[in-house]
Symmetry: C2
Subunit: 233 residues, 2 copies
DNA sequence: ACCTGAACACCGTTCAAGT
DNA sequence: ACCTGAACACCGTTCAAGT
């Protein structure tokens, strides 16, 4: 239809919000949160740092846009057909995997200032909420249930991202977990009896499975006592 | 017993880790995370920035120490006498209140690199874990249960801290919640039906009560199906 | 042993000047 | 309208030099 240059020359592509955000994600994935710099970004886009400010108001907006670019695609799936529980599990795993692949999302989430209502996490909240409604949770309890699920997801995301980054800084994940387990076992038995007890479980533990088990715990709490009857007749 | 100057002259007090950490907490409380600067800290302590490095290895260690100074006192309480559920609620509320009073703790938590095993949150994990054991959770499920509770607490803490900071930046909390609710109500009904539905509940909602309700949800999940009998006989 | 403060190698952001 | 890049006002951290 429309005419197209057969060889688009990379250097002359005009700057745009999308190109900037894409470059930011790439930079964040490659060199981490500390590597996202207006100077580095400008160099990658073959301009000066000032040019970026024409398309983006500042670093905060850039980070929000980068997060959204990573999170939004994981919510593209269709929930029809699955049970609400399974839809929530799938949703949660999608966010988990996205943050596992882009740890900077997890560590950035907590730090960003809340513009009223507009956050990449609102998409997740909405999707969870719809499934909570499908679970037939009473209206007054829906907000609590959806918030609890989202908070848990964000909490794990942050922890897991921090661990991923720490593991990356050291050698690999297995070695890192071993180091943590070893450190736990050397704790003062009077002060840390429980932590020492469970240190052994750290080695063969699967972050993803553990995450899902926590989701199931909350789901069980949400639906507790209204399945086949109440505990007190 | 030992002789003591009656008027300790403030200016000559020697520098020490404790004084540095105390000044850091004060600075963080007063001017926020962005306000903690080695230069500002040095000025408050009447020295040069270099002096601080003699007592502290860098900014990360300083932040960890500041967090620990705020969190550790909230765990001083004694759990004997209370039910495990109540002990966990008290513990969780202590952390919640500490982070509510010092929002920078919540936003800092996720970002800090994990030194193997040594984190201010390990204290919380240990305390939760002991109560999970007291709940008679099977050994293989203890780690999952304690982790889920901790992750939820951290997730809420981060969210709440971000909200507190956003509210502080705007006018007050009530006005901020109103602004969020208004923004939610203006969302596209096709894309955000649930969020629009619950926007009304945001106004009379109590963060602390909501937090506790989430804890109870997880506790219910942890103890589900083993109180007065199983759902399937 | 502990402190000082200038200096180094960076930041985010702004803004006159260009096209 | 959009881009350039020097300049401003900062950072964390280091380190020779002092006491």
């Amino acid at each position: 239809m429309a005419s197209r240059k057969s060889r688009p020359e990379r250097r002359q592509e005009p700057l745009s919000r999308e190109r900037i955000v894409a470059a930011a994600v790439e930079l964040l994935d490659t060199v981490g949160e500390g590597g996202l710099t207006f100077r580095a970004l400008a160099e990658r886009l073959a301009t000066g740092p000032g040019a970026i400010y024409w398309h983006v108001t500042g670093k905060t907006e850039l980070l929000l846009a980068a997060m959204d670019a990573v999170i939004a695609p994981t919510l593209a799936g269709d929930d029809t057909g699955a049970t609400p529980q399974d839809a929530i599990r799938a949703l949660a795993l999608g966010v988990f995997d996205a943050i596992d692949a882009h740890p900077w999302v997890g560590t950035t989430l907590a730090r960003l200032p809340r513009t009223p209502g507009k956050s990449p996490m609102l998409r997740v909240f909405e999707r969870i909420g719809r499934q909570v409604q499908a679970l037939r949770v009473p209206e007054t309890a829906q907000f609590t249930a959806a918030s609890a699920l989202l908070s848990y997801i964000l909490g794990v995301a942050g922890q897991n991202a921090a661990n991923t980054l720490a593991a990356r800084a050291n050698t690999d994940r297995a070695a890192f977990l071993d180091a943590v387990a070893a450190a736990w076992r050397e704790l003062d038995p009077d002060q840390y009896p429980f932590t020492r007890d469970v240190a052994g479980q750290l080695r063969e533990h699967d972050d993803r499975a553990e995450f899902l088990a926590g989701i199931d715990l909350i789901l069980a709490g949400i639906t507790a006592g209204r399945a086949d009857g109440r505990t007190r007749p």
